[in-house]
């Protein structure tokens, strides 16, 4: 497991958002940044993660206010719509900014 605090070139330490710094949660948020919104089955398909794992991570991201989850029905099938919130988008942008700073 990697540390989530990285020493920058100027000897300052920057913290990578621990909520986003997880493979599955980052994959979900990145996909939503690219697509705008998605649904449970699609996220399951693109990440190849189990339904249970996706549910847990979606709940965490929702609790942080990064995602909006709407449960309903589409053509008589249960449908869970997931979309990224402005707060989630900002968190993602900040995360990428820190990553870039580290790599540069």
């Amino acid at each position: 497991m990697h540390d989530i605090i990285f020493k920058m070139k100027n000897n300052k330490f920057k913290l990578l958002n621990p909520i986003l710094h997880s493979q599955l949660r980052l994959a979900i948020v990145s996909y939503l940044v690219g697509n705008g919104n998605s649904n449970f089955n699609e996220l399951k398909e693109v990440t190849s993660a189990s339904g249970g794992n996706i549910s847990v991570q979606l709940k965490k991201l929702e609790e942080c206010g990064y995602l909006k989850i709407e449960k309903g029905f589409l053509n008589n099938y249960q449908h869970t719509k997931v979309s990224i919130t402005p707060k989630g988008l900002k968190a993602f942008e900040d995360y990428v900014k820190v990553l870039k700073e580290y790599i540069e």
Partner: protein, 199 residues
Amino acid sequence: MDTEKLSPKESIALIGQMIEEAKARFTENGFIYVFWGLLISLIALIQFILLYNEFYAINWYPYLAVPFGMVFTGLYYRKRAKKRSANQFSTLIGNIWIALAINKMILGFFFAPVLGENLSPVILILLAVGILVSGTVLKSNVLILSSVLINIAGIICFKVNWLYQPLVLSAASFIAVMLPGVYLFMQSKNQNTGFVRNA
């Protein structure tokens, strides 16, 4: 995929991969272009045969298949929506095609006497606009080229004798809508877009 922590480089790679995945999934498999290209091509060809044989009163009857085509298209995309969520691009394309289809139907069924010989060229130019928007959003040079060809066909149609206008429409639909649809279909079949497969 689990909740394992990543190195910064792995994070960047994962972000890029997921954004590419989102982009790749927003592709058109070409089916709807094949369907409409063939349908309009056949309808226009039948209309030409009717006009050529002087069945003037019923020459527009083949166009009654268009509303059925629209219903089929609606059902097709409804089925697809179960598997794929709409994004801003698919919504944009969908709305543009709905607006164009409704306007073309209104022009064809209610304003044909007003437009007279200009109906087919106007329909072709509207079709070219729709294909151009789709081609631009899908970044498909084949569709962009098709839109140019359809636009040229539309302009040519203004100068063509009214009897042969349906033939131009038929040929344009076959060459510039159906054939690109087949190309997109083949491209979609060969495309490897799965995250697991890319991983």
